[in-house]
């Protein structure tokens, strides 16, 4: 066989910029899902099974947040569930809202609300100081 360099017939550059975003988003859903099983189950047992939400008072919350351990636990739960839920809804919106303008509006409202919740939650968790 003759050793020739073939032409680039039919061969084209990948048409895309090559962002890995969708890949990592997909992977993140799986990893965060794994953590959420532990964190959300832990949260549910502590708040709703071992304790009763009706009896939770200031003292209970303050005592929990005296340790950086529980603050970290709660912040991880907050961050992962908001990121996971936001990305999940982003996917749902991309799939189901065909109109570009409506989709942008929905997506930006979602990002706005999620960011607001995340900032508020983080603020409370970091800035909380026990009174009395």
């Amino acid at each position: 066989m003759q050793n020739t360099t073939r032409t680039d017939w039919g061969r084209r550059q990948p048409p895309i910029g090559g962002s890995n975003f969708e890949l990592y988003a997909w992977f993140f859903m799986r990893v965060s899902g794994l953590f959420l099983v532990l964190l959300a189950a832990g949260h549910m047992f502590i708040m709703h099974v071992f304790n009763d939400t009706l009896n939770l008072d200031y003292e209970f919350v303050a005592a929990r947040w005296d340790t950086p351990y529980w603050r970290t636990f709660d912040w991880l739960l907050l961050a992962l569930s908001i990121l996971h839920g936001t990305n999940g809804l982003r996917i749902v919106m991309h799939d189901n809202i065909a109109n570009k303008l409506h989709r942008s509006l929905a997506l930006y409202s979602l990002y706005f609300v999620s960011t607001a919740f995340f900032v508020l939650g983080t603020y409370v968790l970091v800035a909380f100081v026990r009174q009395s």
Binding site: R6, G10, P14, P15, I16, S19, N20, E22, A25, D95
Partner: protein, 231 residues
């Protein structure tokens, strides 16, 4: 036996949307859906348009929706489906006439993933060798006949026809996992876009629809995982 055939007809010259027409046909339970369509076209209404070529499940031209599910009309017998039999064109692609759809976007997506062997190295004395184990990695996806049953059963494709669709990913899989091929990375670069493999939401419609029994959803997951390992 008597069969009631309901076909979603569309004539682009007179209709603005499809309408159902009913045909009463005498058929043998062992006849194929395709035979019923032939009976209508040859003896009742010659204007009925549909595609078929091989009539034996090889060419992939007669995928259609039969009683709500995608299948090849030449592969399904009258006794295997319930009566009346409802036939529609496959969904998500523009209808040209009756059961004939415009496959242009489908083949565009197919071409996008470079569905051919890329290897510039000179092969050995005779051919490029491959172990049976390596061959097995993509055996399943070599069976594709490009009928579009999978892609047009996909709910993501119905709403977003920018999605490359399962068939294109199956045909990328065919070469990505071929040890003789050198362009896996390029194919995966193409498929990691928003409209590539990660657009798949694992609905499994494609796996149910494939008349060749290809594990389509599994092939797509293989591609997603492989993309992770190269990045």
């Amino acid at each position: 036996m008597d069969v009631k055939l309901r076909i979603l007809r569309f004539n682009p010259e007179t209709d603005r949307k499809g309408h159902w027409e009913e045909y009463n046909i005498e058929a043998d339970p062992d006849e194929r859906i395709l035979d019923l369509l032939h009976k209508v076209k040859w003896f009742d209404d010659g204007s009925l348009a549909f595609r078929r070529s091989c009539a034996h499940g090889v060419c992939g031209s007669d995928a259609m929706v039969v009683n709500g599910e995608n299948m090849l009309a030449c592969q399904v017998l009258v006794k295997e489906v319930s009566n009346p039999i409802k036939i529609e064109p496959i969904r998500g692609l523009p209808v040209i006439k009756d059961l004939v759809v415009d496959m242009e976007t489908f083949f565009e997506s197919y071409k996008k993933v470079m569905p051919y062997l890329v290897n510039d190295e000179v092969p050995g004395e005779r051919e490029r060798l491959q172990s049976p184990e390596d061959r097995d990695k993509f055996e399943d996806t070599t069976k594709c006949i490009l009928c579009a049953a999978c892609t047009t059963s996909c709910p993501v494709f119905w709403t977003a026809d920018t999605y490359v669709g399962p068939a294109a990913i199956v045909n990328a899989h065919r070469f990505v996992f071929d040890s003789r091929d050198n362009a896996s990375k390029q194919r995966l670069e193409i498929l990691k876009d928003v409209n590539g493999a990660f657009r798949c939401r694992t609905a499994f419609n494609c796996t149910t629809a494939c008349p060749r029994g290809i594990q389509v959803t599994k092939a797509i997951e293989d591609v997603k995982r492989e993309t992770l390992t190269i990045n």
